[in-house]
């Protein structure tokens, strides 16, 4: 379930106290970066079971690890996160721009100035037009559809009747004039005109989709195979299920880049490793200058982490993601609060924790879609896991009493849950660990008289199909991380009218009020006030049990013994790739 995630989170600098207490657990090893002198040169190797990166094309890039990877090596954006350990890593620094953005007009207009001496790998200068062209590609939704949709939502361009933008991207060129008005270039100064106040606009500019693309080098869908580099490395080879090879970009100059420190001469990523082979490499340290981009299989994970000899080559952190079970609140499904609650209280969370190797590796039950690492937007909610009737290994008796009430209040949903021939339909991705977990879930719910019909969907296409699945299933498992340190990228997306509302809420007056409050919070310029609003909205949704349960997960990373400079880059929930070096 931890793998089913498309977004990322940042820990807010102002919430340092919380982050310091919770975010780093299990003794993350980061001291090497501080005490040793980094070594320049050598080959740094990565390996993964995946056959390819989900995307190399900046416009389609949306996963934290990949953004961290490519931002460190290949792509530059106007603004970047500071590449350091701890909460300081969540602060913004200018990258291609000379500043982190100047808002005006109630944060509806944002202005940036480009740095001098910034170039592409072919030696040509990166211009304001390149930035603009990069933004325009996000509008070509028939070509690129995997990246974030904020450009379309925020730029001051009208929408068509069916909700699509009046601008159709740089290939069809429909509505080009509208786009040319929304983003304007004046020498090295670029101005973004937005349709509403976006106080946290500059955080979005850390995404590669906001970076430059050279129009003459754009090959559309094929650009994914060989994007033009602006960072310290360029792509020498990229073959799916084979390898990615990065070599130094000799057109990049340290003088133009205040953040990046490229140590290795060459970086390779080997794809498509058999999971057993991958784990064996990690367990045996047989490739000391290599880093696994994946986690280990649970059994091997425990084995590795329990061995003190490996203390110097592993870390364990709260990752940016909250996994959740979304209930289908529409009629004929789980449109009954009592039934949703019954399922929540019947869950045997302890069994699932044990399955994943205990709280050390699993994380802990959550009480909000917003994760504590998000800082001020999170506040503990009441009810759910704080309810006196909540038991970590399940409370089937209480669930039964809830069901008994449901039998009278909402008989249809009650029957759906308790009739063996129907049962609650539960969609999940077809992976080995999900299968094991499903067995435990079914067993636990059966104790409360709730029947579950688990339906496995192909893992590879699971995420892409969530919007289809949400209408067919009663429970849908998913995961979400904030795009940056603001719940504006969580609550509206998951529960409001954003991309990924799988609760199928609509119509009711209560829900309409909820939406109105969400939209108010989005444009609130007072950050403290906004945080309070998010907290209240989270409480409301949790009280409705729209999400039957949430988990604040952890993730583990490992690396070879000859690797130095490792730290956990909080905003990306991943390695700080840029500072990694190979020891002599």
């Amino acid at each position: 379930m931890k793998k089913l995630i498309t977004r990322r989170v940042v820990a807010l600098a102002t919430a340092a106290s919380f982050a310091a207490g919770v975010a780093l657990v299990g003794g993350a090893t980061t001291s090497s970066a501080a005490t040793e002198t980094p070594v320049t040169g050598g080959t740094l190797q990565y390996f993964t079971h995946s056959t390819q990166f989900p995307a190399l094309d900046p416009t389609n890039m949306y996963t934290g690890r990949d953004i961290a990877f490519f931002d460190s090596y290949i792509f530059r954006t106007l603004v970047s996160y500071r590449p350091v350990e701890g909460s300081a890593g969540s602060s913004l620094v200018p990258d291609l721009a000379t500043n982190t953005g100047v808002p005006s007009n109630k944060a509806k207009t944002w202005t940036y100035t480009l740095r001098k001496g910034i170039t592409w790998e072919d030696g040509s200068a990166i211009t304001c037009a390149d930035i603009k062209y990069g933004w325009s590609r996000a509008f070509a939704t028939d070509v690129f559809d995997a990246g974030p949709a904020y450009a379309i939502a925020w730029l001051d361009i009208p929408t068509n009747a069916d909700g699509s933008s009046a601008y159709a991207g740089p290939y069809r060129k429909t509505g080009q004039a509208l786009f040319d008005k929304a983003i304007t270039c004046k020498g090295d100064t670029i101005t973004f005109n937005l349709s509403r106040s976006v106080p946290d606009f500059n955080y979005f500019l850390t995404y590669p989709t906001t970076g430059p693309i050279k129009a003459s080098a754009d090959t559309g869908d094929k650009y994914d195979l060989k994007p033009l580099a602006s960072g310290p490395y360029k792509i020498e080879k990229y073959a799916i299920n084979d390898e990615l090879v990065l070599v130094r970009n000799d057109k990049w100059s340290k003088a133009s880049d205040p953040i990046r420190t490229p140590y290795p001469d060459k970086i390779t990523v080997t794809f498509g490793l058999n999971e057993d082979v991958r784990d064996k490499i990690v367990l045996d340290d047989s490739k000391p200058n290599a880093i696994s981009l994946d986690g280990l299989q649970p059994a091997n994970n425990i084995k590795f982490f329990e061995n003190p000899a490996n203390a110097d080559r592993r870390m364990n952190n709260y990752d940016p993601y909250t996994s959740y079970l979304a209930a289908n609140n529409s009629k004929g499904h789980l449109d009954c609060l009592l039934v949703r609650k019954a399922i929540f209280f019947a869950f045997d969370t302890q069994a699932l924790i044990n399955l994943s190797g205990g709280t050390t590796y699993y994380g802990e039950p959550g009480d909000s879609p917003v994760k504590p690492v998000l800082g001020m937007d999170y506040a503990p909610t009441t009810g759910n896991i704080h309810d006196p009737n909540y038991k970590i290994d399940g409370n089937p008796e209480y669930a039964k009493t809830l069901l008994a009430q449901a039998k009278k209040v909402c008989p249809t949903a009650y029957t759906r849950a308790t009739n063996p021939s129907q049962g609650i339909i539960y969609y999940r991705a077809d992976t080995a660990s999900n299968k094991k977990a499903a067995v435990l879930v079914e067993a636990a719910l059966a104790k409360a008289g709730i029947y579950v019909n688990t339906v496995y969907k192909p893992a590879g296409t699971y995420n892409a199909n969530l919007s289809t699945y949400r209408k067919q299933t009663d429970i849908l498992s998913g995961g979400w991380g904030a795009d940056w340190a603001n719940a504006s990228t969580v609550i509206p997306e998951l529960w409001g009218e954003g991309c990924c509302n799988y609760t199928s809420n609509k119509g009711t007056n209560e829900y309409k009020i909820f939406i109105r409050n969400v939209n108010k919070a989005l444009v609130e310029l007072d950050r403290n006030k906004q945080a309070k609003m998010w907290q209240n909205l989270a409480q409301y949704g949790m009280d409705q049990y729209w999400y039957i349960r949430t988990v604040f997960g952890k993730s583990q990373q490992t690396w070879g013994s000859k690797i130095g400079g490792i730290y956990y880059w909080e905003p990306q929930g991943s390695f700080g790739f840029g500072q990694i070096y190979v020891k002599k």
Binding site: D142, V143, V277, K280, S286, P458, S467
Partner: protein, 333 residues
Amino acid sequence: MLKYVSQRLFYTVLLLLLVSLSVYFIFDLLPVDPARLVCSKNCSPALLRDTRHKLGLDVSVIEQWLRFLQGLFIGRDYGVAAAAIHCPAPAFGYSFSRHECVSTVLSHAFPVTLSLAVLAFILWMTVGVSLGVLAARKKGSIFDRVSTVFVLIGTSLPTFLTGVLVVIFIILKFNLVDPLEIGNWSNPLTDPIGWLQTFIWPAATLAFAYAATYTRFTRSNVIETSSEDFIRTARAKGLSEKVILRKHTLRAALAPLVTLAGLDFAGLLGGAIITEKVFGLDGLGGISIEAVTSSYDLPIIVGTTIVASTFVVVANLIVDITYAFIDPRVRHA
């Protein structure tokens, strides 16, 4: 003979057309909407329509198939407007998950599959046939018994299990191959050692199962042929046992092997799914199973299916014609 060949040729072409058409029909009948899969999270009806058009799914199946045929000969454009991508002939389609023309993907995958198939074929034919012949000659001996055990183990172990065992307990245990290099393609002409390192283990795994079958088949064929009347005739003529075995027994006993081996080899050219998956080889089998399990990449699925069918159908033709040369009875039938 000429008539026989041309008849078979005509039939083969017809069969290929029919197979490709039915592949289109089969995938159209199923409730998978490839456009839906490609068109991800924010799929509006307009976007879905665009995606259908992009994938060429907005026309009837027959027309899709005709366009496919056309693309095979003159190439084809995929996508829309300035973002359209041209795939030159033979165009099998465009994979939006691999960002390449299917023909390019196939042309990269094919050498991998071919290497695996050729090496495995050589291994299993040498081992299978020689073991089979020896076991037949020394019927009932210890050697025969050992080979029987080999056959039984080979036919009983599922390949995915042998593959995994080979990887874990041979390759990794004895550090035979750099673990990051497992499944890496090397050109056999420029880097024969690297090529052999990559392919010897998967080929051996694959050959293990086949060799067992071939040992059994060869052994029983040789034994059966040895009791044929014409072998007794050869003996009555005064031929030595060596000549009888070489010229008479093997010729007749191994002839059916041509058909079997030809078809098996052709089947492998379509991709050895399990072996390629276990060893991380990016051959036709590897990419086809990847296309099914990770993204249901229909152009790749259709492309590999049609290519694999073509291998089988063409191999059938070649085998039939070859067999006609070997066995005069077929030729004159």
